[in-house]
């Protein structure tokens, strides 16, 4: 199986998974409502904190205006993250249809990586765009601001693409772990929740305690949302874009290699469920 062949198969899988994802329009619309609701709620909260706080807390150079932009972009990028394992793959693991995918002349990791990211892409870009649009249309105090600089904006776009790959690679690692059918969903949800919190989507990482800042910068999940958003709002200078994206790339590689390793090991002993 050569690279060209795999590439063509991946494109084809991408197309069909997106077509499937787009079938569920109602779910996409309701998803936008949830994102916008959370966005407004967080805007109110942060406005209260910034306005009435006694300035005793260190906001690490993240102003209220930047935080509001952070919130909206955070909501938009949150859609790249998985709240659970891709439904189709989960079904395959649970009812033994993984056998069908093993009958394809494709590496299972590549096959599933493409499938799950395409399924995510099929629905999330509409939701993300709609959330960003809603953020732009908010009244002045709560609106998503302009990027800090053109350079910052360009590095933001690049970093968003990296964030998508990183999120998919992490989701695949979790999926590979989930191949242990008897472990159930527990470990999966713990991992996904942890990654969500450490991505900065709930609370911008700059607002966490000072002692944690170095750790928060180096840990893998900041690459999900925090790094691209900081590049946009300017709390991270465009000069810091390269190391930041380097971190995203490094962690993507770690997750891909780890996921592959676990999956290949599991496949040696896999039990295909059902008759």
């Amino acid at each position: 199986m050569n690279m060209k062949q795999t590439g063509r198969a991946s494109r084809s899988l991408l197309r069909i998974s997106m077509a499937e994802g787009l079938q569920y329009r109602a779910s996409a619309i309701s998803g936008v409502f949830v994102s916008v609701f959370w966005g407004i709620l967080e805007c109110v909260l942060f406005t209260v904190f910034f306005t009435y706080g006694d300035n005793a807390w260190n906001n690490n150079g993240l102003s209220l205006k930047q935080t509001i932009s952070y919130v909206w972009l955070g909501q938009a990028l949150f859609l790249f993250q998985r709240m659970s394992i891709d439904g189709e793959l989960m079904d395959k693991i649970n009812n033994g249809n993984v056998g069908i995918d093993l009958c394809r002349p494709l590496d299972l990791y590549t096959h599933w990586f493409v499938k799950s990211s395409a399924g995510k892409l099929g629905t999330s870009w509409i939701r993300s765009a709609a959330t960003v649009l809603a953020g732009l249309l908010m009244p002045a105090g709560y609106a998503l601001g302009a990027p800090s600089s053109l350079q910052g904006f360009l590095s933001f776009l690049l970093s968003v693409a990296m964030a998508f790959i990183l999120c998919s690679a992490f989701a695949m690692l979790v999926t590979a772990i989930r191949l242990n059918v008897t472990w159930g969903d527990g470990p999966t949800y713990m991992l996904l929740l942890l990654s969500g919190i450490l991505s900065g989507t709930y609370l911008p990482l700059r607002l966490w305690p000072d002692e944690l800042q170095t750790f928060l910068y180096l840990q893998p999940f900041g690459g999900f949302a925090d790094i691209p958003i900081q590049l946009y709002v300017g709390s991270m200078a465009p000069a810091a874009a390269l190391p930041g994206m380097g971190l995203q790339l490094l962690w993507s590689l770690v997750f891909v290699l780890g996921g592959r390793w676990i999956m290949n090991r599991k496949l040696q002993t896999i039990i295909v469920q059902g008759g």
Binding site: R8, S12, C103, V272, G274
Partner: protein, 271 residues
Amino acid sequence: MQIELRDIRKSFKVYKRPEGKWGLLRGALMRNVEVVEALSGISFGIAEGELVGYIGPNGAGKSTSVKIMSGILTPDGGECRIMGRVPWKERTAHVSRIGVVFGQRSQLWWDVPVEDSFDVLRDIYGIAPGDYRTRLAELTATLDVGALLRTPVRQLSLGQRMRCELVAALLHRPQILFLDEPTIGLDAVSKLALRSFLKEENRKHGVTMLLTTHDMDDIEALCERVMVIGHGQLLYDGQLAGLQTKYAPEVTLKVNTDAMIAAMYNDLALT
């Protein structure tokens, strides 16, 4: 021999809840693990172009051996060579030469038109566009699914879907076809159509077929050779006629019920 298995073994762990009054609670804390031997040393060979029936009671190990031969499962021991390859070791190279139909599972994408699934398979197997068109035209004509190509899979009846599954399994011209209960749940007309198609495909393209089923009419219509498996062991391997002389010597006349029912459906214009 195109397919060769020697002394293939496979066992599974089964978790059992302890018995008794507090079994439910104790089971949550400690599990009784029992090792069940699905295959205890199976050996056989199948030559190119053969059409072999594979029968045995539920849980005898049929599906397990089919899964091993299609590269999905790794056996605990024994040797298996199919077209010179060890299925679970050279999985991707192996599976590009075989086709698999599981009657209880679908390989088509549920929400999109059948044709889209076929297009994806074309790209996965790397079928050349010209070859794909002729092959698809040939298969859709013989299986009569041309009118279904634009219908989403979820809206197909079981018989229609099963015919599409066959197209999907044969698009890349596999040399071996594993069929695991392909006629399960099908009506008489669909069954007859499926059987005649399989026979034709075997005759015309020399595709080797291994057919697992509980429907003995399938076996009778298609296979000369049958293998009987039970308790993970091969109990009989030979002509179907040999079984008949041994276990049903007195039977002389038999009504083909499927053909009868199919004739009735046709007569009542139900198809």
